[in-house]
Symmetry: C2
Subunit: 321 residues, 2 copies
């Protein structure tokens, strides 16, 4: 890690240095040191958040700190890994305590809730950019992968989908909501709750898993490609808030199927494992909903509650589109 000059060191010390308990060495040397337990693999994921692309300039810094870590924890959740540690690299135009203080607060609050430690990183001047890399621990051979979906498996999702996208449409001026409803969907966008406990509980139960970051159609597509299977999903079975339920059909479908930023888990499990799935969900305290099944082939069909295929084509959000 780089640390360069007194100003930057003060900054790191003030907001981002805490003693580590589980890591062998934390912030302050060239490297941090993790000490994996015997038989454990280290799960690693890295996400970069850019203003205007992953968050709006209007986001309160505390929520941005929360979200930057949450989207990474969501990747660990999808693998069934237990969070251990993370690094944080920030580029920002200037050192601004009014921004950094609440950013750090939001980050630490979520980190503490998951017992995850900041072990290193980097700070530099430049356009606002946050890059977090997370480390988790998972028993060798037990990680949930995208590649395990089998023909006949159920398709499940956790929580509710689409509210984050609905909030984005309010910001874009396409939708108007009451102040209360807007605040509720805005929380879904700005303070997603990574499903870490659910992912862990699904080890040995789910056959595949992915976190929903880009929208159900795109993310399920990754599972299908990796697993070499197809699927049918019932859009009317997808769980959504009452606020989204009250919107028009087209907007609702768009938010549910191609919303993005949900950070719920999408997973598959054999039909014989339904009670085990229910037990895992109860243990984690997260509702789960069965919304489709895996078929032979390679296509993804979206149908309504009556089994009729939807006309519209839903594609995943492409950062370069």
């Amino acid at each position: 890690m780089r640390g360069t000059g007194v100003g930057e060191f003060d900054l790191i010390a003030r907001y981002f240095t805490r003693p580590v308990r589980r890591a062998a060495l934390g912030v302050g040397d060239d490297c941090a040191l993790l000490a994996p337990r015997p038989g454990m693999q280290i799960a690693v994921s890295s996400d970069m958040l850019v203003e205007g692309r992953h968050f709006l300039a209007t986001v309160p810094p505390e929520r941005l700190g929360h979200k930057a870590l949450a989207v990474n924890l969501s990747d660990l959740a999808a693998c069934g890994a237990e969070p251990l540690a993370f690094t944080l690299a920030i580029s920002m135009p200037r050192v601004d305590a009014a921004f950094l203080g609440p950013l750090a607060d939001g980050l630490w609050q979520l980190a503490d809730a998951h017992g995850i430690e900041l072990v290193g990183g980097d700070t530099t001047a430049g356009p606002l950019n946050l890059c977090i890399t997370v480390f988790g621990e998972v028993p060798a051979g037990q990680a949930l992968l995208r590649s395990g979906a089998g023909v006949g498996d159920d398709v499940w999702v956790s929580g509710t989908l689409g509210d984050a996208r609905l909030a984005l449409e309010v910001f874009r001026g396409r939708v108007a909501l009451s102040a209360d409803d807007f605040e509720r969907v805005r929380l879904a966008m700005e303070r997603p709750q990574p499903r870490v406990a659910l992912g862990r509980a699904l080890r040995g139960v789910a056959s595949s898993a992915i976190d929903l970051s880009d929208g159900l159609v795109g993310d399920l597509g990754h599972v299908l490609r990796r697993s070499g299977v197809g699927a049918v999903v019932d859009v009317d079975a997808l769980p959504c808030s009452e606020i989204l339920r009250d919107q028009g059909t087209e907007l609702r479908h768009e938010c549910l199927l191609a919303g993005g930023d949900d950070y719920e888990l999408l997973f598959t499990a054999p039909a014989g494992a339904r009670s085990a799935v229910a037990a895992a969900a109860a243990l984690a305290g997260v509702p789960v909903t069965r919304c489709g099944h895996i078929e032979a082939g390679s296509s993804l069909s979206i149908v309504d509650g009556a089994g009729r295929p939807l006309d519209a084509r839903w594609r995943a959000f492409d950062h370069f589109a």
Copy 2:
């Protein structure tokens, strides 16, 4: 890790996906999986490179790819860790094959030279920014730290110092060099060679180590603070190229003491270990030079070859200064 839409996936697949040999799982799932060997700790470091701050717009993309990984490998070298894997997160204004192709070439060339695997990452649209996180393996308890310097130890540096800063001064128009000399110092700036083999060979020999990224005075200061000691360094003993030796005294001192971007190792070792240091350097094929010693106290004195203290105050480069 996030992967979002077809364009981005094509990009990742084309330039940044290769089968892994040592990691348990590479690019393509929510997380990568590392399988540490028993008794090993995982060394982690994360560096973010921003245009105009860590590299100039004039840098050839191949050299930028090299440097982005090199500065991270240099952190592993300073810990005596063996490189295992890395993640790469890139933000860039647009997908540009003329940029990405050579960037990837430079990155892979250095990665292959060190047997390190790309296991994951992120790509997004935004201002150019590269964030690499590296993972290395080091036997538990054997990592080189900043905190181990002892009174009476020698202070050593590897290679030569100051050429990268000299090149920067050419770009800034402060210094003029012949085309040949400019190309040589520019290579020091744009293609630093991380001292991985030397760091590994110094395990059990050096009492402390750090990589020189911000200039000798600033980086040695970190070692002194962490170790609770002071030091005397002889500026005339610091190794430099003939090109830098031909410059005026003030510029030479500035480049040697506060140059930055050297990516050489600065380390301490007991005076009784001089032959062991020489053996480690010979094993690694990297020249090392003794340039000072550790004293009691907390001050860093820079003296010339006759033992006279230098007048000027040298401070480390501060990214926010």
